[in-house]
């Protein structure tokens, strides 16, 4: 090698310090020491000697070091060479190390070459060398392998095939599936379709030990979560393990054992793959709807589907069946189902567990739907009319004429559902899902609820108010006569029938439209009812079925509007009838087309008859005698009621007997109640209008829902009946009045009758019916009526209404008219006299103490009066004249032969008193005597008084009839007055 090629020795710089740095550092160090010392020297209190000493020591130490530096600088002359030496030394040491390493490597090589040594001489190798001429040493891939001669291979395989054929032919216990085998390529190939294929061969031609396993493959594979038939080799480690087991089994039990082993192995594998499919399924769509258990030891898989469904669990058990094949059993809701016709493997031999589960679930759904349909048919007669099955898996339930519900079962969860559900359906579906056993019943109750809601919405739309408070106890249902015609199972009546109560806003409490809806029939029953609650128990007090003229289940709004009218009129009639019955009326409801009734009504007026023809009218015949017993009236009264909107028109027709000659009567009272009497036909008509809304609202107060408080009583008929009653009273009055020819009816109104009983105009009386209850009466008299004197007495007489009293009054009036006329006349005369007397006294200077010809009138008991005449007789006493008063009474008294007033039997007795003169003096006696004497012929009848009436002279008295009393009294009065005037 050339010199230039030698590389430079690497330079070493470690542990080397440049000299300049050494010098610089020590110079600075020395300077610092010096400076430090000089600084401390200033402050030091040490003696100078010590200071000197320290300073010297410092200087010496610095100098020593500088000497060393000097030495170093001398040495530094050779520093370059030393440096080179150092580099050389380091390099040589490295070389030394390299050499040592090389030696170690040689040692290691030597060790590794031990295996390259020739083997020790032994017998085997010696024989080998003897046979082959050289030992068979490992080539360590230095020599290429030599191929076996194909001819040899073919020959061997052919030999093997022959050998195997022979062996197979001789095999005694060959299992049946292994009959189908193929001998080829020196092996026997068995193939069990869809399970496995395996190959066995023999080891040695001369060996009798038997077969050993060559190959095993499964004939199926899990692909896309589906078991498909495809030849699949096992993983190497699995195969090796299986090979060991299989060979052991072959040596023990031969091919039969091998078959059993592989069969079980393949089935277990399939089951495991199914398990894996199921695991995948359970992680996806089927999560929480499906579960399965896999038992590898017992070799089965149990799949439970519809986990959330509340019913007995349904399972699919997959495992080895009795025929040793893989199969499944379907246990449907706890019962083994065998008629499903489904197979685990599809036609192409693949197994799709999801497909299988879906098929089974479809079957399940179909059978369930069928069951529900049958169950409904078992419960209800006409089930086929509204229940049908669609696509085998859906139940079509006809809810009403317009609506259908499609009930199905979700195949995933097993939950029942409705297509396009309404909230009601959702609720029912939820109920069904809580207990699937009652599906049929729930579906029927859905029908019930849909009916209810439909009716409810229709009714609500026509302003009916639903009342949920009313709950009728079951025992009350018997009163309804509910139609359970189509219901086979009567136990369900309660569950499938619902009563709902509706009312109108203006209705009084207790009035209801009762709707009976059922789940088993589309027929809806209607009732008009009165329902009352006592101590929390509702009870029907009256009920009447209603027939709606509509096709079953089809109701128009018009129907319900009409229903309003209809029910209202029914309820009103009911109330009216009840009211009348409470009054003791005997009633019968007649057809308004009854000819006689029609005739009667049409006689009244042609126009009115139309009204009675309307839909809402009701006609009732009332027995007259049971009501007010209107005098002179035919036995039957006809009550016709019409309802228009909120007004109730009440018409009462009656016919009077012809005896009564009456002018036409027609008037209205303040409440618009009117009465008309047609004198030609003698038919009277009472017409009154009741404002129902006012009345019913008054009746149905705020206490409506307070069932404990009795509903406020109100009366619809009150006005009409009061009119009728008045009319009746009036007729009674008229009856009395019209029978007496001396009476003349002047004016008639519904509340008052005026008639004249005397000859003069003012001699009339008005009887006023005081109030609606007709139990009292008052009288009114004209100002000039003589009877005004006894007005109060007369009023008292008739205060309590009684026709007898009226009769008595009339008699009294007639009887006492002359009496009172006389009284009035006398009183007027007396007044006149008195006035004259007053005038005289005012104008005359001579005070006249007593009026001349004056008299006093006194009445007693309204049947008697006294006229007291005074005569002043001057009597000469010793010195002065004394004026004595002589008193004479003319007594007029009504006397009755019997207890009752009678025009014929009651007489007026006119007497003069006192005629006894014992106590007075002679002159007076004389005067009285003269008086009596002069009157005597009159009383005696010697000088008869001219009069129309009967006069009986009784010597000391005169008895006369009411017609004569005026004349008699007047005659006597004139006479006595004349006598009194005379001296």
């Amino acid at each position: 090698m050339s010199e230039t090629a030698v590389p430079a020795i690497p330079h070493v710089a470690a542990n080397m310090t440049p000299l300049s740095v050494v010098l610089q550092r020590y110079s600075i160090h020395s300077f610092k020491k010096l400076k430090e010392y000089l600084k401390t020297l200033e402050n030091s209190t040490q003696p100078d000697s010590v200071k000197k000493r320290t300073f010297l020591e410092l200087l010496v130490s610095i100098r020593e070091n500088f000497v060393r530096l000097y030495v170093l600088s001398k040495w530094a002359r050779n520093s370059k060479n030393v440096e080179k030496l150092i580099d050389l030394f380091v390099w040589l040491r490295e070389q030394n190390q390299t050499v040592s390493n090389a030696l170690i490597q040689i040692g290691a090589t030597k060790q590794s070459l031990v295996s390259a040594k020739l083997p020790n001489p032994d017998l085997e190798t010696a024989l080998e060398v003897l046979i082959k001429g050289q030992p068979q040493l490992p080539t360590h891939n230095y020599e290429p392998p030599r191929n076996v001669d194909p001819n040899v291979i073919l020959r061997t395989l052919k030999d093997l095939n022959v050998e195997l054929s022979t062996k197979m032919a001789l095999e005694e216990n060959l299992p049946k599936p292994f009959f189908n085998c193929e001998i080829k390529d020196g092996r026997v190939k068995f193939r069990i379709p869809n399970l496995f294929q395996c190959c066995v061969s023999i080891a040695n031609t001369y060996d009798q030990s038997g077969f050993f396993l060559v190959d095993f493959k499964l004939e199926f594979q899990l692909k896309d979560n589906k078991l498909i038939p495809q030849v699949t080799a096992l993983p190497r480690p699995t195969f090796m393990h299986l090979e060991k087991v299989a060979n052991l089994e072959l040596s023990k039990n031969g091919l039969a054992g091998l078959y059993n082993l592989f069969h079980n192995y393949a089935i277990t594998c399939k089951l495991y793959y199914l398990h894996r499919q199921l695991i995948k399924l359970r992680m996806g769509l089927w999560k929480s709807h499906l579960t399965h258990t896999y038992n590898a030891e017992k070799c089965f898989v149990v799949v439970t589907y519809w986990l959330r469904r509340r019913s007995v669990r349904s399972t699919i058990e997959i495992g080895k069946m009795k025929n040793n094949e893989l199969g499944f059993r379907w246990i449907r809701e706890g019962q083994l189902s065998t008629d499903h016709g489904l197979k685990l493997e599809q036609e192409d031999g693949s197994i799709n567990i999801e497909h299988l589960i879906r098929n089974i679930i479809d079957k399940h759904v179909q059978s369930h739907i069928k069951e529900v349909q049958n169950e409904i048919a078992d419960k209800i007669d006409i089930a086929d009319k509204f229940v049908s099955v669609q696509k085998e898996s859906q139940l079509i339930l006809k809810l009403s004429s317009m609506k259908i519900a499609v009930y199905g079962i979700d195949s995933l969860s097993g939950d029942g559902y409705f297509q396009n559900p309404t909230p009601i359906m959702m609720r029912i579906a939820a109920q069904i899902n809580t207990d699937t056993r009652e599906t049929a019943l729930r579906l029927l109750s859905l029908r019930l609820e849909v009916h209810l809601s439909e009716i409810s919405s229709l009714l609500t739309a026509t302003t009916w108010l639903g009342v949920d408070v009313v709950k009728l106890p079951i025992r009350e249902y018997t009163k309804l006569g509910v139609d359970y015609e189509h219901l086979k199972d009567q136990n369900l009546a309660e569950k499938l029938f619902a009563l709902k109560f509706y009312r109108r806003r203006e209705w009084p409490s207790g009035w209801f439209l009762t709707v009976g809806v059922s789940g088993f029939s589309s027929k809806v029953q209607w009732w008009c009812s009165r329902v009352k609650s006592s101590s929390g128990q509702w009870a029907i007090s009256w009920i009447e079925p209603i027939t709606l003229n509509s096709t079953e289940g089809e109701y128009s709004y018009e129907t319900f509007v009409n229903l309003t009218k209809k029910t209202t009129s029914m309820l009103l009639c009911n109330m009216v009838v009840k009211e009348l019955e409470d009054q003791g009326c005997k009633l019968k409801i007649v057809d308004k087309d009854d000819s006689k009734v029609k005739q009667l009504i049409s006689q009244d007026s042609a126009t009115k008859s139309n009204e009675t023809q309307s839909e809402d009218s009701t006609t009732v015949v009332i027995d007259n005698r049971s009501l007010f017993n209107i005098p002179n009236c035919r036995d039957s009264l006809i009550l016709v009621m019409n309802i228009k909107n909120s007004a109730l028109e009440i018409l009462i027709f009656g016919k009077l007997q012809n005896e009564l000659k009456l002018s036409s009567i027609s008037f209205n009272d303040e409440k618009n109640n009117s009465i008309e009497l047609n004198p030609e036909t003698s038919i009277f008509k009472i017409h009154s209008n009741v404002n129902l809304s006012e009345m019913l609202n008054a009746g149905s107060g705020a206490n409506y829902f307070n069932s404990l408080s009795a509903p406020t009583e109100f009366s619809i008929m009150n006005d009409s009946l009061s009119v009728l009653n008045k009319f009746s009273s009036l007729l009674s009055l008229l009856h009395i009045v019209s029978h007496d020819e001396s009476l003349k009816v002047i004016e008639i109104s519904l509340s008052a009758v005026t008639f004249q009983y005397g000859s003069n105009e003012e001699e009339m009386i008005t009887l006023v019916l005081l109030n609606e209850s007709q139990d009292s009466i008052s009288i009114e008299l004209p100002k000039d009526n003589p009877h005004r004197l006894c007005y109060k007495y007369l009023n008292d007489m008739v205060a309590e209404f009684d026709f007898g009293k009226i009769q008595r009054l009339v008699k009294y009036l007639k009887l006492t008219l002359p009496f009172y006329k006389m009284l009035v006349k006398l009183s007027d005369e007396n007044e006149e006299l008195y006035q004259k007397f007053v005038d005289q006294n005012v104008n005359s200077p001579d005070l006249n103490m007593t009026p001349d010809n004056g008299y006093e009138l006194n009445t007693y008991n309204f049947e008697q009066f006294k006229i007291t005449y005074y005569k002043y007789v001057e009597r000469k006493m010793e010195k002065k004249t004394k004026t004595e008063k002589v008193r004479v009474n003319l007594n007029v008294q009504l006397r009755h032969k019997t207890n009752e007033l009678s025009l014929t039997k009651s007489l007026f007795l006119v007497t003069l008193e006192p005629l006894d003169t014992d106590q007075i003096d002679e002159s007076m006696k004389q005067w009285l005597h003269n008086l009596v004497t002069s009157l005597h012929p009159t009383f005696n009848g010697d000088a008869p008084i001219s009069s129309v009436g009967q006069v009986v002279y009784l010597k000391r008295a005169i008895a006369c009839s009411y017609l004569a009393v005026e004349d008699v009294v007047d005659a006597l009065h004139q006479k006595i007055r004349t006598l009194c005037k005379a001296n």
């Binding site: 090698m1 710089a13 542990n15 080397m16 310090t17 440049p18 000299l19 300049s20 050494v22 010098l23 610089q24 020590y26 110079s27 600075i28 020395s30 300077f31 010096l34 000089l38 100078d48 000197k52 300073f55 010297l56 200087l59 010496v60 610095i62 100098r63 500088f66 000497v67 060393r68 530096l69 000097y70 030495v71 170093l72 600088s73 001398k74 040495w75 530094a76 002359r77 050779n78 520093s79 370059k80 060479n81 030393v82 440096e83 030496l85 150092i86 050389l88 030394f89 040589l92 040491r93 070389q95 030394n96 050499v99 090389a102 040689i106």
Partner: protein, 143 residues
């Protein structure tokens, strides 16, 4: 060896430093004498202070010496001088060590060559196929 003789290369930086060092040592000796004989007189004070200033000036000069970076001082030399031993001895001994190891390695080298040749001859004899390989290795490793 070279202690007494002055540096023949008088103009070099190293020679300058040597003279500076020797004058510094001299100054220090003077200073020591002055301190020792210091009596407190003004003259003595002035002399002392002059000397101190001189010393400081010399130190400053030393500290700012340039041109000596090429002189690398091994740490062991410093230790030698510190212990008061002659650094030339260290140099002599070091030369000796280097000579010895050089000889040792030379011997080893020769021994390896001989082993190589012997082994190569043996391999060639045993595996004639490898002769080329052996020759190649020999030619590559021979110096």
């Amino acid at each position: 060896m070279t202690t007494e003789a002055a540096n023949p290369d008088t103009g070099s930086a190293l020679a300058l430093v040597e003279s500076e060092l020797s004058s510094t040592i001299e100054t220090l000796i003077h200073l020591s004498v002055q301190v020792h004989d210091f009596q407190g007189t003004d003259e003595a004070k002035t002399g002392l202070s002059n000397n101190i200033n001189k010393l400081i000036a010399q130190l400053q000069s030393l500290a700012s010496t340039k041109g000596l970076d090429y002189v690398a001082v091994p740490l062991e030399i410093v230790n030698y001088i510190e212990d008061g031993r002659n650094p030339d001895i260290y140099t002599r001994e070091f030369v000796d060590v280097v000579r010895k190891i050089n000889q040792y390695l030379n011997g080893k080298s020769i021994a390896f060559q001989q082993f190589r040749d012997t082994l190569g001859a043996k391999i060639k004899a045993e595996f004639p196929d490898l002769e080329q390989e052996v020759n190649l290795i020999q030619s590559r490793t021979s110096l």
